[in-house]
Symmetry: C2
Subunit: 422 residues, 2 copies
């Protein structure tokens, strides 16, 4: 567990003035890492740190020469913590490095972001128990949660090639579906296109094949956290997913927020594992006092939508739902690492875990349209009179994540945005 | 479809004498690519071609400088065909390059092989209809094949980090299982460890996200074929796999044969798509005359076992089963490419597809112990008196693959071997 230190002091201010704005996602207490270049420049991507509305170019600053976050991920938590401490000191009001570093700032508005690193393997979990229950109810009203759910952190391998950074349009997939009552399936555009509100957990140091990571060591293998939208084609999924799980319904595109908020930045926002009553304790290899008491993350998650009609009318995005990761997740990130490796599977730096859809216990805290609309049956009404059961072409979705607590500086994740195109 | 040319002439002989042996897997008509270095040398891995019992070092020969097969995979079929033609000419009896190239040979017995390239995404399909039927019967005697099977090339994303080259020991996984009648699951070593006989298909050129590959273009995106053993923990699988598919039961290790046999080498061994009677034609985006008439591969697959007791007694491996890919597969590799990309998923050079277990229609053609033993109920008897329902520690499995037809030179795949360690 990462300790609080002077980098978390809520009174710290930066000489980058925009980092001191109350509403910024990126005050000096955050310092998330990402991969950027100046838009339209044709430059190589390199690693930067978000500070206020700026990016500090770590290559120009002589602090990190890599083209990708992977070497920093691989080099372990001590180096990451050391870099955080140095950045915090250098970006602080009164720092002697101000003049030198001011030349290494690029406005975020002028930056093109990439995925933080080449993602090797991506695993999507299913830790949102309220999501799993709500979706299960649609298929099995009397038995929504399968018996393994409370014992096994259910997860499945996903597609890494189609994970794209925030802002990349996502094309509505075509695929095979079986319309109710039809004699045979048809091939055509997805009719039940949905989003899923998730967190993304990046692996830092890996483990050798055959050598599990214990629950006590698991957090040392985590690098940081992003927002993640696991776009889902529900009609394709319903037809294809038995017996081996979702496939084309999930691999046409997934959107990730480009700034990786480190475990250190999240230290003031840890929460106990909150499980609904009536579930057994995990088996010992997935259990520890630390993970039970502070293994979860207190992150408020919001989903915003702006339809094409709203955009044309100059109307801003509206919020569809809000939930909190700590209320939603039945398993902690450390439990996911311990589970993933318990059979010997090797994790590698830059691997990504999706949390699964993080819906809260009530319907307005849903992390997907499938839940908000009860399987498409109850349409969501938007302020301009439009209705949605599933996503239409031109709909732009944006996930936001915020950590706010008394006596801590508010930090955020930046945007995880994407628009559906036909 | 690759045409036959002079590189396939069964009368061709090489100046590498071992390539002219009747029983070699690697005559001059094969020329598979792999990644090697001299064992114990600490050298960098580089690309080689198998010829008889030798490896031709393409870097030393000045033919290819890459450390990995990926650049050759990415550069498309024309360059691969050109390289094949040049290698065929250079290794032929009477070639003027003999003296220069003889210095670039390394005996395979002295070579350490790696996986052919860094594998980005790995997808495992389920094309073996007899396997799917036999396994389905164990769970659903009256309804073994689900309705989607005859319409959708069922597949799921797999784990690429734990794919290891032939010869790497595989550790028996520990995991969660639910013993029959037990009040709660237990964590411990897998009790039902199995193998699966598959082919591996490497992707050559990729496609952009959102741009499907048509069935007619699909084979141009395939690079070549390997053997693949998808080790499976059946007890872990049974407990974890609902609702999102197999996960830890499959990701503790998968073994690949290190030599990639190109589509060109397989040109004399194409076969029609042989589907059991009573199934509908595929939907148009998965159908073509070419794939129906010659989309399958006539590859004989064999599974051999040598237990620890056999090894200690100096007894050779014995054959457990034989099948043929062309009798087993309900979908062609081209159909898998067209399906995988039809929703917009982007494939990348070096991605790997597993075929799924390629069992023939009769039980002695089973590609797994699950089938050979009818779910573990009928033990397999070995010649030394030992019996197996599932694999024990010290069991060494070897898959072999051979293409043999009249008027064609026999070619093979080399070994896909691994031993279970406790």
């Amino acid at each position: 567990m990462t300790m609080l230190d002077e980098t978390h002091d809520p009174a710290l201010r930066s000489w980058v003035e925009s980092a001191n704005d109350a509403g910024t996602d990126f005050p000096i207490q955050n310092l998330p890492f990402g991969r950027f270049r100046r838009a339209g420049s044709g430059e190589d991507f390199r690693v930067g740190v978000a500070i206020g509305d700026q990016v500090l170019d770590l290559r120009a600053a002589g602090l990190l020469d890599d083209a990708d976050l992977k070497p920093l991920m691989a080099s372990g938590p001590a180096r990451r913590r050391d870099l955080r401490a140095r950045l915090s000191a250098a970006l602080r009001e009164g720092s002697a490095q101000r003049d030198a570093l001011a030349k290494c700032l690029v406005p975020q508005a002028q930056a093109e972001m990439a995925v933080p690193c080449t993602i090797g393997d991506y695993t999507d979990f299913y830790t949102g128990i309220h999501h799993a229950t709500a979706v299960g109810k649609l298929f099995r009203p009397d038995n929504p949660l399968l018996p393994n759910y409370e014992w096994v952190p259910i997860g499945y391998h996903g597609r890494s090639s189609s994970i794209v950074p925030s802002g990349t349009p996502v094309r509505r997939p075509r695929g095979q579906t079986q319309p109710p009552g039809a004699a045979q399936p048809v091939f055509g555009p997805c009719q039940r296109l949905d989003y899923e509100v998730e967190l993304g957990f990046f692996i830092g140091t890996g483990n050798a094949m055959g050598q599990p990571v214990s629950i006590d060591d698991a957090e040392e293998h985590l690098f940081g956290v992003t927002l993640f939208n696991d776009w889902s084609a529900r009609d394709i999924q319903a037809w294809e997913y038995q017996p081996l799980g979702p496939f084309l319904s999930k691999n046409f595109g997934s959107t990730i927020s480009p700034w990786v908020v480190t475990l250190e930045a999240l230290a003031p926002f840890r929460a106990p594992l909150k499980r609904p009553a009536g579930h057994p304790d995990p088996l010992p290899h997935l259990d520890s006092k630390a993970t039970r008491e502070s293994g979860s993350l207190d992150i408020r998650l919001e989903t915003w939508i702006q339809t094409e009609a709203m955009r044309k009318a100059g109307q801003p995005a509206v919020r569809l739902a809000t939930s909190n990761a700590a209320d939603a997740a039945f398993w902690t990130p450390a439990q996911l690492v311990a589970h993933h490796t318990c059979g010997g599977c090797n994790l590698q730096p830059g691997d990504l875990f999706g949390s699964g859809t993080l819906s809260g216990p009530s319907q307005e805290q849903s992390g997907s349209l499938l839940e908000l609309t009860k399987g498409g049956k109850e349409k969501v009404k938007l302020p301009n009179g439009e209705e949605r059961s599933f996503l239409q072409d031109g709909d732009a979705l944006e996930l936001r994540g915020v950590c706010e607590r008394p006596r801590a500086r508010r930090i955020g994740f930046g945007a995880c945005a994407g628009m559906i195109v036909g």
